[in-house]
């Protein structure tokens, strides 16, 4: 007979697998849009990322003599690889996806002790590793809607067929390059910044980061499903938009406005799917807000003054490192106690 169980003897119909599945579901629209936008190479890259993560995770679980099936079935490895794939340049070669996925699940997660133990967001850690190690492959962008055929796409993904003819520049990269040539925003943005296209996602960028609208819808779906709360995403958007607005008003020719920032790079993906990663973010609403705000601010600072055109991944890793400190100082007030933890005074007359 099973041992005596402790209360409660009722449980909400929820599990880790269901949580991860719901997040994956919320990613589907943006992913399908990415497939449509960039064609078969994007599908290849996505599939290679997922397969590498599953195989790699199974392998290290075997090495640790841990049960493979439950750890794989919780869907966290798949989610990590999926997020990484969405953040890669769509025509990146297969080994970028393989290296990134293996790094994410093995170095990013399993080495720390598996699910729930990692300090840094595995997908962002992998992205930063790739960006630093393979800057060329990680910054080779293509214009959308070129629809290479299936065979061509296999050549692009697996045989590193040169894609010079299709190459293009991302908005943030383009602006940064133009600045080095002494060209201001008033000219740099012309032809590159079409607000409506940016909103829908028909722009140059990573596989699944371009469609602000679909990512936003996915995020709102998850907030409605109570997978996470609004605090971290909204704070991150504020963290980017407010300084962008202030500096744009001070010097509009040198500092891009809030809409340019909000709709470009990996911000929308990060705001709704990366900074909401529960493992690497604080555990109170206020803590999550501070965390999101920090991610946003750092993103804007790196984009504006840093060496890299995009700063989302760096910002997230820096704030991941700050998470334990935030958790240490931001705690809810306990019933019957004041903020410092002392018991409230007795007051019979009140």
């Amino acid at each position: 007979m099973n041992p005596i169980a402790h209360s409660p003897h009722a449980h909400a119909p929820i599990s880790i697998g269901k949580v991860m599945g719901t997040v994956l579901l919320a990613l589907v629209p943006a992913t399908l849009f990415g497939f449509w936008l960039y064609g078969w190479p994007a599908v290849n890259l996505w599939a290679v990322s997922l397969i590498a993560a599953i195989v790699g995770e199974a392998f290290v679980l075997r090495l640790q003599s841990r049960a493979v099936k439950p750890a794989l079935m919780d869907g966290s490895g798949i989610l990590t690889a999926w997020l990484l794939a969405l953040s890669l340049p769509p025509y990146a070669p297969w080994w970028i996806a393989v290296l990134g996925s293996l790094f994410a699940v093995i170095i990013g997660k399993q080495i720390f002790g598996g699910l729930g133990q990692n300090v840094f967001n595995p997908a962002m850690a992998a992205r930063v590793m790739l960006l630093i190690s393979f800057p060329l492959e990680m910054t080779t962008w293509v214009a959308p809607l070129q629809s290479p055929g299936l065979l061509d796409s296999l050549r692009i993904t697996f045989m590193s067929q040169p894609i010079d003819g299709m190459a293009s520049a991302s908005l943030l990269g383009h602006v940064k390059t133009e600045f080095t040539r002494g060209i201001g925003l008033d000219q740099a943005l012309v032809g590159h910044y079409v607000p409506l296209d940016m909103l829908w996602g028909s722009r140059v960028g990573s596989l699944g980061e371009t469609t602000a609208v679909l990512l936003l819808l996915g995020g709102l779906f998850l907030i409605a499903k109570r997978i996470f709360t609004w605090h971290a995403p909204v704070a991150m958007l504020i963290g980017v938009a407010v300084p962008a607005l202030v500096f744009n008003m001070i010097d509009g020719n040198h500092y891009a406005g809030p809409m340019v920032h909000l709709l470009s790079g990996g911000l929308m993906l990060a705001a709704f799917f990366i900074v909401t990663d529960p493992v690497t973010s604080p555990n109170t609403a206020l803590g999550q807000f501070i965390f999101g705000l920090g991610c946003g601010l750092l993103t804007w600072i790196i984009r504006t003054w840093g060496g890299y055109p995009e700063g989302v991944a760096f910002a997230v890793l820096l704030m991941n490192a700050a998470t334990p400190i935030i958790d240490q100082y931001v705690k809810p007030r306990i019933y019957g106690r004041d903020r410092k933890g002392a018991a409230l005074p007795a007051n019979k007359e009140a």
Binding site: S7, P8, H9, G336
Partner: protein
Amino acid sequence: MKLFDLRGGVHPEGRKDLSAECPIRSVPLPKTLYVPLQQHIGAPAAPVVQVGDHVLKGQLLAHAQGAVSAPVHAPTSGVITALGDYAAPHPSGLPVPTFTLESDGEDKWISTETLDDPFALSPEDIAARVSAAGIVGLGGATFPSALKLNLSRGVRTLIMNGGECEPYLTCDDRIMRERAVQIVEGIRLIAYTVGTQEVLVGIEDNKPAAIAAMQAAARGSSVQVIAMPSMYPMGSEKQIVQVLTGKEIPAGGRPADIGVLVHNVATAYAVQQAIRYGRPLVSRIVTLSGGALKTPCNVEALIGTPVEELIAVAGGYAQPAARMVLGGPMMGQQFANTGVPVVKGTSGVLALTASEIGQAEPSPCIRCSTCVRACPVGLLPLEMAAHIRASDLTGAVNLGLKDCIACGSCSYVCPAHIPLVHFFNYAKGDLAAQERAKLKLEATKKLAEARTERIARIERERAEAMAKRKAAREAKERAAKEAAAQKAQDQAASEAA
């Protein structure tokens, strides 16, 4: 009336419809009843009858002993056939001292006194009668009610708890629907005893019939019946005080610290029965429910009725129960032996199916902080569990372990199915054991010090006595010598003369 906000809380599936429309039924008189000596918080009662005695319904079997205790009465008339160990209604099922009462089938009451005007009694007299009737908190905490009355003289607000936020349970719902007049009289008696003007009856809004019945019964009195939003754990003492008054009970304190007294509505009924009719607490309303029972219902069961006889009243099992629970599913306790008796704190007997329980193997914590959002106290259950897992009790206490009310909200919502409350209760047990060991050590130290001091004192006294004796002896010798010298002098003088 304005209600105040609560933090956290969960909305488990109510499942109250299983038994809510079933009026309170009586149970066939059991042949054998088992009445434990301890059915309350505090010291067990001390037996006053002997094996072989014939007792009447309501007769005192064991009296309260110590400051915190409650007497136990015979639930029916019959013969005491044993006073010994019998399985306790507890997860352990361990034997506890229990009266075995063979019913004589007559259910004959002791002679009781019915009062025409219970309000003619003095408050002290009412509290004494409540104490003598063996009434304890029937919401489940089983704290002796008279003690609360005595400790709460002059509170500003009396809160009557009709929240019944536990899923499945409908015993308070039914008693409020069917016996509202008696409950309101009981409430007025309690208010009169502690001398309070403001009386609030909080009932969750998922019990509209109970609210209507109580409002009708309270019309024209100072008793206000208030509908509260349905949320778990609304019926917890700390939460109902906060939602109705906006005040918080200080950590480590009691409601009286902020001028509040909280009683359960079923307790008010028991008070009314004891004061107006002189009937001690010998029965209570019990909800029989769960997907594994054929006909879930509410019954008025004599204290000491074996649970299996109640299950028979509920038509027996529709399917094998995956888990039997005493109390509600959120805070109740699993039990295995259906021979255990109903006691004063038994609000429900649940036979749950596996799908109702919905338990799964625990998986790693993903720090999703759903538990933080659910905690009505403002704790960080995930952090506390991590500290306890690492045997860091001090760390868990610093995070507020002692403020945990064990309501189970965190475990209920945890997507990783981590038994958080189990961790906390384990740690609280460990902590209590440590504190007991510390007290024991201090007591031992005190005793040892006292012994050393006693030995030293005895030595000192002996030495003093010896010195005294020596001094006395010397004085005597000296006196004798002086006397001898005097004598010699006298002799010499007389000789000279």
